[in-house]
Symmetry: C2
Subunit: 263 residues, 2 copies
DNA sequence: CAGTGGTCTAGACCACACT
DNA sequence: GTGTGGTCTAGACCACTGC
């Protein structure tokens, strides 16, 4: 509760006139700038891969100093929404760059580095339209029965299947997505989402468990039923924490491992 | 224009007079400050939990402006080596705080939040001195045959065993560590390492796989042999990327899951 | 109240990339 | 050379904590 000490000039500071109890009660200028940049990103004013205006330009636009814009951009860059490149500019992050092709795929071959196996072979096993079950709906912030797209694919490295994934997407934002488009597309699926549907995945949460392979999983991954698999349930979010994908993956961990850095 | 405000007399800026070919060729002041703070941390000038000098004090000591010290501290804080607390000061991070008790333990109960099960029960099954095998030595940057301490423990939540861990430590830095001390100690093991051995774990890398439980694992975790377990191999590092612990954990994932955030 | 970190500004200069 | 991000400074003021 309390006191908004901000006298603010014209840059309207996200007024907190609600009646709810515990408000942050203070919002630094750079956070407001950050919010405005975020909005432009969400609305597609600047597209993935493109450069955003220079710091000076933005400072002028928002009527603040360059340092304030700088701090806002620093924040967004540390969240991997923007990428700074000295001497060139600041760019909207994308999943289409070689450098970060597998930012969300933490599976690494036992011998070698990420990507050392060459490109993954993607085999779309299934792609259909259905309606959301209760748990699918909950994960995607939909209602039970809402239309969803469901796909199943197998990723292989060096002719060895390594990952089986079931993917659910809300039908509305992905209108027009077909098995053909998935099959014909080269590169990361998230890059396709960016270019074709203007959906950019920004972060994700994973729940990881060890589970025995079912007969169905075993057939597709060419392993024995009952073999322990890494079960990876992922919910991926766009800007503003809107969930846009549920993915249930099963990873073989005889040839690969899931790598994680704690800090 | 007033020309070089920095008389840079004494704060020697890491002169690059070497003849070698590809050097970074430029090291910002704040990075050098960061390195000096890092050294003080490593040498124990400020201990975990203690406050470091104020930004102004450090600025005076290093003959730079507050802003430069600030940037150095920002970096270290983002790496979780320091913790800023507005109005109070900047503190050396520690594993002993309630808030971050389980910063390196990503296992979460299926229903509930981290820590919602109350304190973990730790049962030291074994603790002995031995010599490093080839792979243990490699992980800890030792030589094969060097002295190591090896411990095995079971962590239980609500009377249900959930984790079995084998831990290897280089003997030298942990001289005097006994089963009794491990057993009698309350709280995170990494907190014990800080207070008793001045070893602070700063980051870690994990390799995660799914593996069937052996008979030995099954007995200790009270599950059936062959049950899929999450195998988590962790190498933990102190300052300056020195490896100080190898840990092989086996997590039950029927009651819990491993949580990971991708961004 | 004084002391700490946090924000904001304004200006100068440096390193890098393109042209 | 011009324009971009990156560094550094100096000073003002704000917000939070604890005496």
């Amino acid at each position: 509760m309390i006191t908004s000490p901000l006298p603010p000039g014209e840059t309207s500071p996200a007024a907190n006139d609600n009646g709810s109890a515990i408000t942050p009660s203070f919002s630094p200028l750079y956070q407001q700038i950050k919010g405005m940049i975020l909005n432009s990103l969400r609305l597609g004013e600047w597209k993935p891969g493109e450069a955003i205006p220079s710091e000076m330009d933005l400072a002028t636009r928002f009527r603040v100093s360059q340092g304030t814009v700088r701090k806002a951009i620093d924040d967004l860059a540390s969240e991997h929404l923007l990428v700074r490149r000295q001497g060139k500019g600041t760019f909207v992050a994308t999943h289409a760059e070689q450098q970060v092709q597998f930012r969300f795929l933490k599976l690494v071959p036992n011998n070698g580095n990420p990507g050392s196996e060459g490109p993954a072979y993607r085999d779309i096993v299934q792609c259909r339209r259905s309606s959301a079950s209760a748990d699918i709906a909950r994960a995607l912030a939909l209602r039970t029965g809402d239309a969803v797209l469901q796909a199943r694919r197998v990723l292989s490295f060096l002719d060895t299947p390594a990952i089986l994934e079931d993917i659910w997407l809300p039908a509305a934002p992905f209108k027009g997505l077909t098995a053909e488009r998935l099959t014909n597309h080269q590169g990361p699926m998230y890059a396709l989402f960016e270019t074709e549907f203007n959906v950019r995945m920004v972060r994700a949460e994973e729940k990881i468990r060890a589970e025995p392979a079912t007969q169905g999983h075993a057939d597709l991954l060419k392993i024995a039923p009952g073999t322990p698999l890494l079960s990876v349930e992922r919910v991926a979010y766009t800007y503003k924490d809107v969930p846009m994908e549920l993915r249930r993956g099963y990873y073989r961990t005889d040839t690969h491992y899931y790598h994680n850095r704690l800090s």
